[in-house]
């Protein structure tokens, strides 16, 4: 009983952060499933979404600035794919990854220029910033809202993938890129759609995530991005339920570690987990085994 009352706040925070990581992780896992690319810029797209909310909410009410944030993020995600990844479609995978690192570098420097290097204060969003008390823990509404919203979005997404035409095209492209093209699937449209969904979820995630933090700086996206990626790998890259479970696990364990007073290692834990997973089950929990053809 004592354990529960002591760790409940951390557990709640963990579930919430896990939900936010899950929203980012889906973006990684879908892009990887289709393009076999670690989209290093995804964490920075998430950061840009945070900045857009900040700047938009200074000039317009929240009911406008939040949709605007989502719209801008989606356009940004699509634009990055068009400009930085599409020209490299037939080059080695490593070139595309280097391009992604370049985009990440560009977005961070751009954010640094626009913010002038100052931490930008995140606006207080009414309702989700209110505090509630659950058992022994006092927390914000967003903590409760995140997992619910995340599950709703994931269910919708899975419906989209399993029961619509574009979803079928996505599954087909991720199974075999070349054959799908031969079958008349517009591969570029499918890839754009993937980036739209990924960026949309990242934008929603950023609103939930940054509500818990006072401000956004240009490097805010780096760590959550990497952790979400690890979550995607843990769950088996390409698998959406896998990414959600991986993200929840990372979020909860990370916060329990913080609760135990090992804050320095809360980030390192993620990467230890990554290395262990890669060693013993390189394809993750739900990933399909891949074989190399000679």
């Amino acid at each position: 009983m004592d354990f529960w009352s002591k760790n409940l706040p951390y557990l709640l925070a963990g579930v919430s952060v896990g939900g936010q990581y899950a929203l980012i992780a889906i973006g990684y896992t879908m892009v990887y499933g289709i393009l076999r690319l670690i989209n290093f810029a995804h964490g920075d797209i998430f950061m840009v979404a945070g900045l857009v909310t900040i700047y938009a909410s200074t000039v317009m009410p929240l009911y406008l600035s939040i949709p605007l944030t989502i719209l801008v993020t989606v356009i940004l995600g699509m634009l990055i794919e068009r400009v930085a990844y599409k020209p490299l479609r037939n080059s080695p995978r490593m070139s595309v990854m280097i391009s992604a690192i370049g985009v990440s570098y560009l977005l961070q420097n751009l954010a640094l220029y626009i913010t002038g290097g100052l931490a930008q204060v995140y606006p207080t969003i009414p309702f989700i910033s209110n505090t509630v008390t659950i058992g022994s823990a006092t927390t914000k509404v967003v903590t409760i809202l995140t997992p619910i919203l995340m599950i709703v979005l994931v269910v919708l997404l899975i419906q989209l993938i399993n029961h619509t035409k574009i979803g079928m095209a996505m599954r087909s492209v991720s199974t075999d890129f070349e054959t799908s093209r031969l079958m008349g699937i517009n591969v570029n449209r499918v890839i754009s759609m993937t980036f739209i969904i990924g960026s949309f979820l990242a934008a929603v995630g950023s609103i939930l995530y940054f509500t818990n933090y006072p401000s956004v700086i240009p490097t805010s996206g780096g760590m959550p991005g990497l952790k979400a990626f690890v979550a995607a790998v843990f769950g088996g890259i390409g698998s959406i339920p896998g990414a959600v479970i991986g993200a929840m696990l990372i979020g909860i364990v990370e916060n329990l570690i913080k609760g135990a007073g090992w804050t320095t290692f809360s980030d390192a834990f993620t990467f230890v987990l990554l290395i262990i997973v890669l060693l013993f089950k390189p394809t993750g929990l739900f990933g399909e085994a891949a074989t190399d053809k000679v």
């Binding site: 370049g102 420097n109 220029y113 990497l226 230890v272 890669l278």
Partner: protein, 354 residues
């Protein structure tokens, strides 16, 4: 014959560079902008070449360079702080547990050795992974190292999250230049040996290399350790240059920057990496400085120019190189006399063809 000529040409260039460095050391202010560029250029070109050995020559896509620099820098600092100064550096940890100090050259070598030893350890599991999984695992390793070195319990050794200082450092340009030149020369010799050719064979086709009798695991591990050794020495040089060192600064962005330098220079070209490093730091620290300060011509305030714009322009240029000049400056060629001659001859041929 051309090989011998090339060697002589390179030696002459090197001798000229040494003379130039000696002259610059006497004429330029040591803290001036040009000196900053040159010193950083020397240090990072060593790190870039070490990364190129791994990514460009062996085809192992690793993103752990910042982690190994961190280990090298810390090893150097911990071992070389004079015993008398330890009480003031480790003020929160009762003077620390290391109560001796070794000369700077031994510190540099130890920095490399400790880095290589850790690379060997981490390589045991990690090197079984391929391409992007290897990249993300080594990136994760670097992050773990960063957390580890800031851990309070290790405070008596690493000073926790406080900085280390008062270790011997250098003031002249000659020192980093000579150290980097020796290390890069060693790497070049390695690459041109039969051992190095095995690395290239692995890069080009793992399965074919294995079929030719190359021990994949052994060669990959050696490449990883050797690269980390030199990254460690580079980290130690960086620590000397900064005169203080703090684990906090060795973020993954540092690795990204080095990777971009290697790509700009050309994956698989040592001279490319060196040239790209100097260009990178000259551009970011010196040539593009003007973009950071507001400029007024007559009554016209030039728009956009303010602090930080330099980095934006810079990263756009990098993106353009990554997208449109994928080979980088040198591709996988090396700068040499015969290469230069060939270029001239081709130019002349093109001119006469017109």
């Amino acid at each position: 014959m051309t090989k011998k000529k090339d060697l002589i040409f390179s030696l002459i260039l090197l001798a000229a560079a040494i003379v130039l460095v000696a002259v610059l050391d006497r004429t330029l202010p040591q803290t001036g902008i040009i000196m900053t560029v040159l010193k950083k250029g020397c240090i990072y070109s060593l790190v870039a070449v070490s990364m190129n050995l791994l990514n460009g020559f062996t085809g192992l896509f690793s993103l752990g360079q910042a982690g190994f620099m961190l280990i090298g820098g810390y090893t150097y600092a911990i071992l070389t702080i004079p015993a008398a100064d330890r009480a003031s550096v480790y003020q929160y940890f009762d003077g620390g547990i290391v109560q001796f100090s070794i000369p700077f050259w031994a510190g540099l070598i130890c920095a490399g050795l400790v880095s290589a030893a850790l690379a060997w350890l981490i390589g045991l599991p990690v090197l079984r992974l391929k391409s992007d999984y290897l990249a993300i695992a080594t990136l994760g390793f670097a992050e773990i190292m960063r957390a580890f070195f800031q851990w309070d319990t290790l405070g008596p050794l690493t000073n926790g999250s406080n900085m280390l200082r008062k270790y011997p450092s250098f003031t002249t340009l000659m020192f980093p230049f000579i150290v980097a030149a020796i290390c890069i020369a060693l790497i070049v010799m390695l690459i041109n040996s039969s051992f190095g050719r095995a690395f290239k064979a692995i890069r080009d086709d793992e399965i074919a290399a294995e079929a030719m009798g190359i021990n994949l695991a052994h060669h990959k591990r050696m490449s990883f350790c050797i690269s980390s050794f030199f990254a460690g020495v580079g980290g130690a040089l960086l620590a000397m240059y900064q005169t203080t060192i703090q684990a906090q600064a060795f973020k993954s962005n540092m690795t990204y920057e080095i990777l971009l330098i290697v790509v700009i220079g050309g994956l698989g070209s040592v001279t490319g990496s060196v040239v790209a490093t100097f260009l990178f730091y000259a551009a970011s620290e010196w040539w593009l400085r003007f973009l950071d300060s507001p400029l007024v011509i007559g009554n016209f305030q030039v728009p956009l120019l303010r602090s930080g714009f330099r980095k934006v322009v810079f990263s756009v240029v990098i993106m353009l190189i990554v997208l449109f000049a994928r080979q980088g400056i040198m591709g996988d060629h090396e700068f040499s006399l015969s290469g230069l001659m060939k270029l001239f001859r081709r130019k002349r041929k093109e001119a006469s063809a017109k």
